[in-house]
């Protein structure tokens, strides 16, 4: 089983720098929720791991999978990793599914090409098992269906089945249920996390919803303006958020258990643009706890700052 390490990942498109410095580690068999508002660089980070960024993207930093550098790999090795070891599902299941082929065909292809299973009978048997694993009732009746004949929830289940067919060690899920109804959303997420457990794979779960990540993941990485700002256990993030941005994010969200309190806390101002040069902390302009140093100097994100990119983090405080 392999660990994933992302170190100082930066992605540029010309003058735009939508991913500025992302660092995290995902240990084998664990789940990490990558949380941030839209435009914070979550999807680009995920695509970088898959090696699916557009050609114009300039990537720097280190992406390491099981001790091997993903960037140092040849295109052929990369494709092998993408097909077998790391799989990805997207918000729109049709990103992975081909509308012109039946459900059965798409699963069959993976089993044939990626796992090299020769016998058609064997592939069909395996394929049906996988479809039933992802909660598709009477899979035999869906085997010959086309994706457009299925509901959004069912299509996403098929996309998950296709991703799992190659028995990946790491699954990257980018907002996989955002387009679905609430009750279906929870069903699919519970399914995803139970499959993760059952198969012992690692899960990188990208979402804009801190509560969802908090409920399901082992750890959470909070992203803002293309940077990783805070990394901690899900419980710690929800109960004892350290970074002022994480704190603000939690306070801005109404809570089911909370009373209908008079006002929600808001975050003044807006997210910096991807082509903005920022000298200090990326959140300083909107932070209610900022002081002089925050706009002059950039805080670091490392074990020394306890993975809290803030001058107020416990260890940084000593150096004030």
């Amino acid at each position: 089983m392999k660990n994933l390490i992302v170190d100082h990942l930066s992605i540029r498109f010309g003058a735009a720098n939508p991913v500025r410095d992302v660092c995290f580690q995902l240990d084998a068999g664990r789940s990490l929720g990558v949380v941030g508002e839209s435009g914070s660089g979550k999807s680009l980070t995920a695509l970088a791991l898959m090696g699916l960024l557009p050609d114009q993207a300039r990537v720097s930093g280190e992406l390491s999978w099981g001790g091997r550098s993903l960037q140092a790999m040849s295109e052929r090795e990369r494709r092998a990793v993408r097909g077998r070891e790391i799989a990805m599902i997207f918000q729109d299941p049709m990103t992975c599914l081909n509308p012109s082929f039946t459900v059965g065909y798409q699963i069959d292809e993976v089993l044939k090409l990626r796992l090299g299973i020769r016998s058609r009978v064997e592939r069909r048997k395996r394929g049906l098992e996988i479809l039933s694993d992802v909660g598709i009732p009477a899979p035999e009746t869906r085997w010959d269906a086309y994706p457009h004949q299925l509901s959004g929830g069912m299509s996403q289940r098929v996309a998950i089945a296709q991703a799992l067919a190659s028995e990946p060690e790491l699954l990257i899920a980018d907002e996989p249920t955002t387009a679905l109804d609430v009750t279906v959303q929870m069903q699919i997420l519970e399914l995803l996390f139970s499959l993760k457990k059952k198969r012992g794979m690692s899960l990188l779960f990208v979402t804009h919803d801190l509560s969802v990540a908090g409920r399901l993941c082992d750890e959470i990485l909070v992203m803002y303006a293309g940077q990783s700002l805070e990394l901690a256990s899900a419980n710690a993030i929800l109960k004892f958020p350290q970074h002022p941005y994480t704190q603000a994010l939690l306070a801005a969200r109404p809570h089911l258990g909370g009373g209908a309190s008079e006002r929600l806390k808001t975050i003044p101002g807006s997210v910096p643009r991807a082509n903005e040069q920022i000298r200090g902390c990326v959140f300083a302009a909107r932070c209610e706890k900022k002081f002089d140093r925050c706009e002059r100097e950039a805080p670091v994100f490392s074990s020394a700052s306890q993975f809290n990119r803030c001058f107020l983090s416990k260890n940084e405080r000593g150096s004030l």
Partner: protein, 285 residues
């Protein structure tokens, strides 16, 4: 096809009624009926207002792409007065509306695509209030916005309600948002109100199993994983089944649920339609 059946709702002055449910449950049809975009086959809608304005989820799609913010804000006034030309007097009106909804003066000359999602939604709300309506229908007004922007819009709506005595009909699938904004809730499932009552009570002590399901599906519901996630997906509203529309997915289902639609059990200001819970309640009528 009947998108809505036997829906009875009431919203008081200065009150927010939230309509909760999943896609296809009839929420948007209901909104369109309320604002007169559709006519009911049967039933009546009574209000003291001649026009009920509406705000949609898609903040960009509902704004004219080649009009400036100041023009958009006074659109309803121009329409009412049957004229096209934007006059200097309209600028003053636009400024007054902008101030109400927190749009700064420098945004008045911009086009919709030059605004952020939150600013656009403020423009939509401002325009909806241009004629000083006392009631406003909002269809998923914050669902497409990021959390920090969502909070700004929700605060604005609460503020407007307090200062202008507005009544809101707030359509949403997000229970945490509903808990914050609404005094009353009606839960819609496949075109029927399955439960309604004060938000505080419905969202803490649900009676209808479908409401319970929604609550358990809310990520804020509990710390751990839900006790029981309902299986299956909402059936198509085209399938007309006898009995309770939730029977096919209900964990409490009994034979009677599949044959007879449950009458409403009324208890004070709460109401729900469920055979099983009505029996447990001992007040079936």
């Amino acid at each position: 096809m009947r998108a809505l059946r036997g829906v009875d709702l009431e919203v008081g002055e200065g009150e927010t009624l939230a309509i909760v449910g999943e896609s296809g449950c009839g929420k948007s049809t209901l909104a369109r009926l309320l604002v007169g975009l559709e006519k009911p086959d049967r039933g009546v809608i009574e209000t003291s207002e001649s026009i009920i304005p509406m705000v949609f989820q898609d903040s960009l799609g509902s704004l004219h792409p080649r009009r400036r913010v100041e023009q958009i804000l006074v659109e309803p006034i121009l329409i009412r007065e049957g004229r096209w030309r934007f006059t200097p007097a309209d600028r003053g009106r636009a400024e007054a509306i902008a101030a109400k909804v927190g749009i700064t003066a420098e945004l008045l000359g911009r086009f919709p695509h030059e605004l952020s999602g939150g600013q656009r939604q403020r423009v939509n709300i401002g325009r909806a209030l241009a004629l000083d309506s006392k009631i406003l229908v909002l269809d998923e007004p914050v669902s497409a916005l990021d959390v920090s922007i969502q909070a700004q819009i929700l605060n604005l709506l609460k503020e407007l309600q307090a200062t202008q005595g507005l009544s809101l009909i707030f359509i949403s699938h997000d229970l945490s948002v509903v808990r914050f904004i609404a005094q009353r809730v009606a839960v819609l499932y496949l075109g029927r109100v399955v439960e309604s009552g004060p938000a505080r009570e419905v969202l803490t002590k649900a009676q209808h199993p479908y409401t319970e399901t929604l609550l358990q599906s809310d990520p804020d519901a509990t710390d751990g994983p839900p006790v029981r996630v309902v299986q299956g997906e909402p059936p198509s509203p085209l399938e007309v089944l006898p009995g309770c529309s939730f029977a096919g997915r209900c964990p409490l289902v009994q034979p009677i649920c599949r044959t007879e639609y449950p009458a409403a059990t009324v208890r004070g200001d709460r109401q729900f339609s469920c055979h099983v819970r009505a029996q447990a309640d001992g007040t079936e009528n």
